[in-house]
Amino acid sequence: MELRWTDEERAFRKEVRDFIDRELPKETRERMIRGKSPTKEMVVEWQRKLNKRGWAVPDWPVEHGGPGWTPAQRYIFREELMQAPAPQPLAFNTNMCGPVIIAFGTEEQKKRFLPRMANLDDWWCQGFSEPGAGSDLAGLKCRAVRQGDHYVVNGQKTWTTLAQYADWIFLLVRTDPNAKKQEGISFLLCDMKSPGITVRPIITIEGGHEVNEVFFDDVKVPVENLVGQENRGWDCAKFLLGNERFGQARVGASRERIRRLKAIARETMLDGRPLAEDPTFRQSVAEIEVELQALEMTVMRVIANETKRKGSNKPDPATSVLKIKGTEIQQNVSELLMKAAGPYAWVDGDPEAEGSNQWDVAPDWAYGLAGTYFNWRKQSIYGGSNEIQRNIMAKAFLGL
């Protein structure tokens, strides 16, 4: 039993932190501290800097450009990015589609797509969910019919995050409507410039444009863009979804938000004193910090387990714990941040956006706090809703 980071791991953390301090553009960091998503340009610029350093694809094998890190190093790297805060390597490219191509793709596909993914020459998005297939993903209906050397795709995807930036989309489509649910699905790669694709924004409750509907109307996808075997796409989907073992805990992100919360609480008053001095407020924060500390240790256990198991795809109950607790903590912090601003949390919109006529109607730090609170309700819904996580735990680990 060794419950501490090793000296090498501590040195690695410093190396990452120094790199971020040196290379992360000031505007990116400042924008993210204020709780706003980085712009597309900021994400691309940062990923290219990481790629130059050899750090853009932490989870890929060395032969495909990965840095060859241990699970602990990968965790430290991600944590340091969150705490900076800096953009993560684009998940659709580096955590989702990339690993699927590495595991199931042809040599041709690897050569064609992976280097451009790593350098963010292509921005990918995920075409999984449909209006009728949310938690029950295998119920998807989007059809692909083989015609010669093409598949012809018809149907709709939804909740497609940042499709408005995307050059490519990876898709789950139904290729055999007569097979059992999971057995008639295929995994396709589709160029977003293909004729017949329409992207329609979905504006979420806080007013942001993050997600989209994507419509496919006789869209032709060359058969060489099929990943794995036809009708075996569910294997790819399960692999992709099971790949995520500690990503959803986001301990560093919560810690960064708590630091921000404590700073804001010194600026705002309650009962004539800074909110930061109020015992009730302090207890609410401390409660979250305790949960976060336990969660971090749970992440350590998952990482240690991962290191021993060396990539076996066996599920670990702790993964569901990380999802449930990680999202609850983030949601609770976002709520405290909004509450800290009091009535000044109510300003709608983004004062920096083009055409905004708002000028100094609230303290600088108050903008967007309510928006993030509203937006982050999504966290317990996506990635296998927290109720689905409980189903998984009950069935897979408790045998109920």
Partner: protein, 381 residues
Amino acid sequence: MDFDLTEEQTLLQDSVRRLLADKYGFEQRKAYMNSEQGWSREVWGQYAELGLLGLPFAEEEGGFGGGAEEILIVAEQMGRSITLEPWLTTTVVGGGFLRHGADAALRGAMVPKLAAGEMLLAFAHTERQSRYDLFDVATRARRDGGGWVLDGRKGMVIHGDSADRLIVTARTAGAQRDRKGVGVFLVDAKAEGVSVQGFRTVDGQRAAEVQLSGVRAEAALGDPEDGLPLVDRVVDEAIAALAAEAVGAMEVAHTMTVDYMKTRKQFDRPIGSFQALQHRAADMLVALEQARSMAYFAALAAQEEDADLRRRHMAAVKVQIGRSSRFVGQQTIQLHGGIAMTMEYAAGHYFKRLTVNEATFGDADYWLRVLAGAGGLVAAA
């Protein structure tokens, strides 16, 4: 970072597990609890043989050379069987005072006996007004010649009725709630002026009310003018052990509950097939896993030399373990239904032990207040 046990640690775990499997079935435990002593001398003797009593002492002093990890391993097993013997008070708390507060001569005189099971210790700190504040001490200690004489009354002294020596906090200077001026004294339980009234606690342990009238202490442990840092240090180690004990108890309570859900039928199906109950069982697992993580964190934090940081970390441990214990304990009863309300079924006994464990050295609310007052765990940006 490695959570797997070493070969020696696995041996230690196996030996405790085997002993308790043999000697600590639910019916056996009930018999120990209902005996006059309230626990088993026989099992105590076997702890001694396995080296559990001298666990944290250096080998050259007659101990086993165990650290926080070994304490965690043993405490978890004891929690699984909700054992009744005075191991925590003697080995972890008493042992802690000897390790951190006694000179070599005193340790030389006491440790071999303690390790052999012939020296039982209890920690007398609670007073009527003190609740969980270890510095709130009205019991007085006054200098008399080269020694100290104690007057006062201590309550809820766990295993105070069987202890050979009491470790007593008493004020040498200052006002009742001053942090300075608290001393720690070793008192022979048979000394003149000591009266001990034993009783049983709700979780089946033994405790005592202790009256001290002009009692001459055997020795002072640590600095008699400023003993609180010593007390905090020892209690922090005890909190780590209590955390592991709670995890062991929660684990059994949870398994018991899930097993019951698979066999108990209502409406012609196992109650475990109902999603509302499945989700509750899953939430219990979340609480248990978070608690297990925090028990590891506690073993790490107990070794921290920076007293302020250690305090904040242990406060976080108490909050998490307390919250998890309460949830798992209460839901164990709820998901079982009526059967768990009966004295003859084990679930209630785990619930009761978890309830007292949570409040030992302060409940979750108390420690949340401490942590919040100290500014939490994360520094402001």
